[in-house]
Symmetry: C2
Subunit: 381 residues, 2 copies
């Protein structure tokens, strides 16, 4: 089955490629990245707080990672504000920032963004003694040497699980799964979160911090695109199911379409830090802050202003498509000619657009994140 | 004028994009990269010797840079053999390798090559405690924090100068320039080499090494494509000049075509290490080894075997074009429509191919490099 290593799905949800967006003009740019940037900009105070609690009087370089960075554009303000604060508190200390994503990510775009070769303002040219790197190592493996990481940051990345444990019979996403299927996704999500944290625990210096923003399910059961209105993933599943009823796709293709994701609850996020027998707890990692937050869908917000259903549908669907298409494409029988698969996907997203145009109320993709800050105790090994 | 920051010219000479070459099939791949790989593979003993003279019993990570790495393919054997030796001599020590090039380089290709996602064998999966990074920082600026670099490596990159100091009246490359023009290129080359070495001196740990392979002019005046037969850069200049005589291009366009390169002599390479007043000398950098070497043109060698002039011309010209076209394109008047510029370039390289086909003897692009190893004295700051 398709896993997150198969494509750039992990990055698309954070922001469409800035280069593509830039070509569409300024207005489109700002709307398409507003939500993902708002999620990260909202974490600036958490990042600055984490820095404030560190002892920065060290000679060795200060090292920060941005894990699952995509093109580096959505986090650039938050990373810049954080590193400027480090520079102010530790004027002489070398600062290293490492942007990480999967090998097929467009790292040239990351560097062009961070080094100021695009129109996006960057911090890189006004912080001295700063060293910018990229890594294509998955966060399920060690990215930096042991005990060298001061601040590990990640936004909207770790909901991707390393493999899909099973097919989901009547849905396309684990949020619509029940029983043993749901439990299998939860178990895969648990294992990946556990390993991700254990590896970070070894990377962190004593006193180092993690600031992790992840898609999750909040205390009221809300999650991405499901905050009281029309449920986005249910819509995906229903429209995909309708294609089987119309014999456009086969039953096997429906069954083979499963987002390789697990949306964790707050209890699932915090468990490894709270069980004294857990290796994460034993490595000295403790939660300093945890909360869930909703960041509103910028397209639905714009619709509330302009009231033009056709425009809302036309602007909203491409952003859904940008991160979900990989998953639906992977479900299709690879023996179909490429053009046929493209036509099916066009038809599918057209049907979603028609639905929104006809009855726009309640549609939207609000972001639901768990914001978590953890520290490695200064006494830990 | 065109500088090396304007494109990927710096990497093209080392190897055409492996992905492009792979699409052309196995035979083409091996021939197109043989020369550049031979240059680097020939430095393995120098790299292993440098490692053997280091004190590797340190806890901090061992750090190597490959500066001007292009797609990382041509150096992969040499880097792998070097890092395996480090691992054997220092089993517990974390190893960091940092691939550097300009921001527009295809770093995704670098990562795919090094992490084993292509058909090229890699070292990355069988050295434990290894961390692979990329940097898009020019080697005219600090790439890593002060006193953290153990082994700085660079192949076929530093002949690119940071700017062209003046136009060359009757040629396209400094090897055909004389008098004040030649002196201006030499001065720019001197300044860039000086700054490159000063910055490396700060990066190196005491006892660290540089292994630098650079295009140069050897003791008998030989240089790239000029080793006794038909002189490649003279051919470029003559055919480009003929286009002005045919009114295909204008005199200004000829004058605006200047390779942003300086080929240094051995004396120019070694000067900063030998003058006690030079900051490089004062930082403790000393030459351990210097020599010039010629690596034969794989296309001319193949022609000596197969004797088919048309085949030689057909195979040889694309490799010249891959690294030189950026320069000739930059010389053309930008007000010409893109298609017109493309047609001029096609015509230009076709004329070179016709020349080789009609009289193949003596054509070829032998590589002439200066191989240099330097150490930072263990007592240095």
């Amino acid at each position: 089955m398709a896993g997150p290593e198969d494509g750039n799905a992990a990055m698309s949800l954070k922001s469409e490629t800035l280069r593509d967006i830039a070509m569409k003009g300024g207005g489109y740019y700002s709307q398409a990245t507003t939500g993902a940037r708002d999620v990260i900009d909202g974490a600036v105070e958490l990042l600055l707080g984490a820095v404030a609690r560190m002892d920065l009087r060290r000679a060795r370089p200060f090292t920060m990672t941005d894990m699952g960075c995509a093109d580096g554009g959505t986090s650039i303000t938050a990373v810049g504000r954080t590193l400027r604060r480090v520079r102010a508190l530790a004027p002489e200390r070398p600062i290293q920032v490492i942007y990480t994503d999967l090998p097929r990510n467009d790292f040239s775009q990351v560097f062009q963004t961070v080094h100021g070769l695009t129109e996006i303002p960057t911090y890189a040219n006004d912080i001295d003694n700063l060293y910018v790197f990229a890594s294509a190592t998955s966060f399920h493996r060690p990215i930096v040497p042991p005990a060298t990481l001061d601040l590990g940051f990640s936004a909207t990345a770790s909901h991707y699980i390393s493999e899909t444990p099973c097919r989901i019979a009547n849905h396309v996403h684990m949020v619509g799964a029940e029983g043993a299927t749901r439990a299998a996704y939860a178990e895969q999500g648990r294992r990946d979160w556990q390993s991700m944290l254990e590896i970070r625990a070894r990377e962190l210096v004593p006193g180092g911090r993690l600031v992790l923003l992840n898609f999750g399910i909040d205390e009221q059961g809300r999650h991405l695109g499901s905050t009281g209105g029309v449920k986005m993933f249910d819509t995906f599943a229903r429209l995909w199911r309708e294609l089987t009823e119309a014999d456009t796709i086969g039953e096997e293709e429906f069954l083979n379409t499963n987002f390789p994701q697990h949306y964790r609850t707050v209890a699932e996020f915090t468990a490894p830090f709270e069980d004294p027998a857990n290796p994460v707890y034993r490595a000295g990692l403790r939660i300093e802050h945890v909360e869930t937050r909703i960041v509103p869908c910028p397209y639905a917000s714009a619709f509330a202003e302009h009231g033009d259903a056709a425009r809302f549908a036309r602007e909203y669907i491409p952003t859904l498509r940008s991160w979900s298409e990989t998953c639906f494409a992977a479900g299709l029988d690879p023996s179909r000619p490429l053009e046929e698969r493209a036509a099916i996907l066009d038809h599918f997203y057209d049907s979603y657009e028609a639905l929104v145009r006809a009855a726009p109320e309640g549609h939207g993709m609000d972001y639901v994140h768990c914001y978590l800050v953890a520290a490695k105790s200064a006494a830990a090994a």
